[in-house]
């Protein structure tokens, strides 16, 4: 997020796209709802009539995967009606002409056809977005989990730059992170192309710096593989040793049949986790780890805030902190690592090596955490980025993007689009939430959410067991007939093993980010 949760309460206008905030980020949603109750406006762009729709001034139910056409068309209106921030564009951005050229081929009439909403609605939305400044834009995985995810992301950034809504409080481009420490895992360099603090592995200076710090030579100079490439590599034999730490890939990756085949193909698989799960079945060695509340450490949330995590209980049996396990392996391979606690790791290594985190030390985050960039120990942290429109690279660059349809679109054999997400009462594959009885009482099984229209047409009753199939798999589960879901859509989550949406989802990936298209694939439904 460029901005902070703290600003939600006082924001005057929100643009929420592809974010089911009341279920996936419930507490963030409370601050947004507070603002709306105080008079803030809300534009909600989402195929589903989800909870926030009742708070929205306008709900635009665009078709799954039509985001770029919609966003480009908004920009078409803003430019043709002269509603954009000319001062900001002139002084703080580059590439406006290219952007204009691209978005000019998305007049509302044309976009309306792609998006399945009226051209009037597009015009109205654009005008509303331009009517209040600043506008805070929030998105979640509805934007990123597409084969055009990266282009979706640049498109929302284009919109905010065009409106001059960057570099100020209560504005910005705000991806709400799905998991508690996705931000942190990125910051730490658990990515194939960067060291901690986003220093690229292809930079000789960065490698030199880390070679000195880690007292090694010959750090690898080519970008590594992303998860989908690793999974392919397991089958092709390129990857022989695979180490999975804490992710239940056998349920969370698209197309479970394919994933399980890949995991089976590993020559040697290490899985490090707190429970046995669907993924540990494929392991050669399982390493038992201490869980949240059993060790000290830090998380970084969506707003780049590094907060403390504290130990309250002892880990069970002989399970050990994850950092200890990696350190032991290094030791056995001849590398003696000095840091022997999370605090030592943070204070003596991470904050020393990552310039953005240099000013964050454990003693400073005893209470509230600090938001990076925080370059010195005197620095108060950074609640919002690009102050006064000054971008890291100098000027903000418009990156025009053309709309492309999802990799798999509905057809006569598979006439429905399946879209997936999270539900309020569970989290991911339920390895954690599934062990609280009350949460299972509240939501005990997966459902296929379908529209009133389709239910009526097919004679499916609420709670009736149906079959949902894609080209990859088939599951049976109860139908939940709901006004939330538009015609021709099936909506599901991935919390339960048997009826997990990932038996059906399509392993098609964004070419830049290798993010899977969880939000769109073609399915059919049948009465049993």
């Amino acid at each position: 997020m460029t901005n902070s949760f703290k600003e939600f309460k006082n924001a005057k206008m929100f643009f929420v796209i592809g974010s089911n905030m009341t279920e996936a980020h419930p507490v963030a949603a409370t601050f947004l709802k507070n603002a709306v109750r105080k008079g803030a406006k809300l534009i909600l762009v989402d195929p589903r009539k989800q909870k926030l729709a009742q708070f929205a001034d306008i709900h635009v139910p665009i078709k799954v995967g039509s985001d770029i056409a919609f966003l480009n068309s908004l920009m078409y209106v803003l430019i043709t009606e002269d509603l954009y921030d000319k001062h900001f564009v002139a002084n703080h951005t580059e590439g406006f002409d290219e952007l204009k050229k691209t978005v000019m081929s998305y007049p509302p009439e044309k976009a309306a056809e792609i998006c399945g909403v009226s051209s009037d609605m597009i015009v109205k939305t654009a005008r509303m977005a331009a009517s209040v400044k600043p506008m805070m834009l929030c998105y979640t995985l509805g934007i990123t989990e597409h084969t055009c995810g990266r282009n979706n992301v640049v498109s929302v950034a284009n919109l905010q730059m065009l409106l001059g809504n960057l570099g100020m409080e209560m504005g910005g481009v705000n991806p709400l992170r799905g998991q508690n420490n996705v931000q942190g895992a990125c910051d730490m360099g658990a990515l194939p192309n960067v060291f901690p603090g986003y220093q690229t592995v292809i930079s000789p200076e960065a490698r030199q710096k880390f070679e000195n710090a880690w007292n090694v030579t010959g750090l690898p100079d080519k970008n590594g593989m992303m998860i989908p490439q690793m999974m392919d590599g397991l089958v092709s034999g390129k990857i022989k040793g695979f180490w999975i730490f804490g992710e239940n890939l056998a349920n969370t990756e698209p197309d479970i049949h394919k994933v399980e085949h890949e995991l089976e193909s590993a020559e040697f698989l290490v899985v490090q986790d707190i429970f046995e799960n669907e993924t540990t079945r494929f392991a050669d060695v399982i390493l038992p780890a201490a869980a949240w509340s059993e060790n000290d450490g830090t998380f970084a949330n969506s707003e780049r805030r590094v907060s403390r995590v504290r130990k309250a209980c002892e880990p069970p049996g002989v399970s050990k902190p994850n950092w200890w396990i990696f350190r032991e392996v290094a030791k056995r391979m001849g590398h003696a690592w000095a840091s022997n606690s999370a605090q030592e790791l943070w204070d003596n290594e991470i904050s020393v090596l990552a310039p953005n985190l240099a000013g964050i030390k454990y003693y400073r985050i005893e209470n509230d955490g600090l938001q990076w960039p925080c370059p010195t120990e005197e620095h108060p942290g950074t609640p919002f980025l690009h102050r006064d429109g000054n971008f890291t690279r100098g000027k903000g660059l418009f990156t025009p993007a053309e709309w492309t349809p999802p990799a798999e679109v509905s057809c006569s054999d598979y006439p429905f689009v399946l879209s997936t997400g999270r539900r309020l009462y569970h989290y991911h594959t339920r390895t954690q939430t599934g062990r609280t009885q009350g949460l299972n009482d509240l939501l005990g099984e997966e459902t296929a959410d379908i529209s009133l229209f389709d239910a009526k047409k097919m004679g499916i009753k609420n709670g009736e067991t149906i079959r949902v199939s894609s080209r990859r798999g088939s599951i049976t589960l109860k139908a939940r007939v709901t006004a939330e879901v538009p015609e021709s859509m099936v909506w599901m989550a991935f919390h339960f093993r048997e009826a997990c949406a990932n038996w059906l989802t399509n392993a098609a990936f964004d070419p830049y980010t290798q993010t899977a298209e969880y939000k769109a694939c073609a399915v059919k439904i049948e009465k049993m």
Binding site: Q179, G189, I244, F275, S319, W323, A342
Partner: protein
């Protein structure tokens, strides 16, 4: 002399326009007891615990609702104020059943108990009102004990104005008044989303976690602040721990980013920690079956296998996936192991999902 000054208990106190007497007093470090008042919500003036004497006013005024004005002279603990508070507390103690504190999970963490102690009110002066509504124990996660409800309305405020869920409100009238979900249904059949904010707001034992009676009371626990392990909001939580076990989780008040709020997962989703199904020892698979192993056995095996693969096929024949749920320090050490020891950049996590 600056414009906005008032006098509280003989002391000159500044205030900013729009502030209530309570806010001005709090800013000046003067304690006025409150009960129904819930931070960041519209004051309702329902309980009258915060009454103060204002010179020139005909009756006592509720400090949480009355705006401070220039030259106002306020007394917060005058005999009249104290007498009034005693009566209020006495009446609250007769509202339902408050004579069984010894076996109430809220003991030691109860506003009513605190006030009774502060004003030395024992109860029993007025007859207890009849308990009209039985305990509602049919819900997951939340227990509603109407016998302990003093109708202060804090839960309604928490639900309506803090979480904006609008699931509960005052229902019926007069002596029959009850906090109800729509149509007086059980919470599980209502719009309630079980965020538990009402539990956190409840000043008595009327709203408690479902298993509260089977667990140690909050007053017996040690409090440890931490960050929620679920979504990317990063809410600050207070873990209440006894004998090395988490007993309850509440939202840390006045903390960024969540300002005393949690959702259902953050508040209730911690049982996994003490689950019997946790992995307790390393396991090594032999002939398709997992066998318990020591750390030495397991780690030596990992090292020998990875070393051999790297020797035979080069470092890029190994790859690792880190965890977006675990602490930074874990991810740091994992990427360091892959880069500095294995010499590959094949390290990723589910960064984009």
């Amino acid at each position: 002399m600056s414009e906005n000054l008032m006098v509280i208990n003989g002391r000159e106190v500044p205030f900013s326009p729009g502030q209530t007497i309570l806010e001005a007093a709090v800013a000046a470090g003067i304690d006025i007891p409150t009960l129904c008042h819930l931070k960041e919500t519209t004051p309702t003036g329902a309980c009258r615990v915060c009454v103060v004497e204002v010179e020139g006013a005909r009756s006592l005024m509720t400090a949480c609702t009355v705006p401070a004005t220039k030259g106002m002279v306020v007394r917060t603990e005058s005999p009249m104020v104290i007498q009034s508070r005693k009566t209020i507390v006495e009446l609250m103690l007769s509202s339902g059943r408050h004579d069984d504190c010894l076996v109430c999970p809220a003991t030691g963490d109860c506003r009513l108990q605190e006030l009774a102690y502060r004003y030395q009110v024992k109860g029993g002066k007025y007859p207890d009102t009849e308990t009209l509504y039985p305990m509602e124990a049919v819900n997951p996660l939340i227990l509603r004990n109407f016998a302990k409800c003093i109708l202060c309305g804090r839960c309604v405020q928490a639900c309506r104005e803090v979480q904006v869920n609008d699931a509960i409100d005052f229902g019926y009238r007069g002596a029959k008044t009850k906090i109800i979900a729509k149509g007086d249904m059980a919470l599980k059949d209502s719009d309630c989303v079980f965020c538990g904010q009402c539990i956190q707001a409840c000043p008595t034992g009327a709203l408690v976690p479902k298993d509260a009676y089977q667990k140690p009371r909050l007053c017996e626990t040690e409090q440890i602040r931490t960050t929620c392990p679920y979504c990317g909001v990063g809410c600050q939580q207070t873990l209440h721990v006894k004998n090395g076990k988490i007993v309850q989780v509440t939202a840390t008040e006045n903390a960024e980013p969540n300002q005393g709020r949690l959702c259902v997962k953050g508040r209730f989703g911690y049982d996994f920690i003490s689950s019997n199904e946790r992995l307790k020892t390393p396991l090594i698979k032999k002939d398709g079956v997992f066998h318990e192993a020591t750390w030495d056995e397991a780690l030596d095996l990992v090292v020998s296998k990875f070393s051999k693969i790297i020797k035979d096929h080069g470092p890029d024949a190994v790859a690792g996936v880190s965890c977006a749920r675990s602490i930074n320090e874990d991810s740091y050490n994992m990427q360091k192991l892959f880069r500095a020891v294995f010499k590959t950049n094949n390290i990723d996590h589910c960064a984009r999902t």
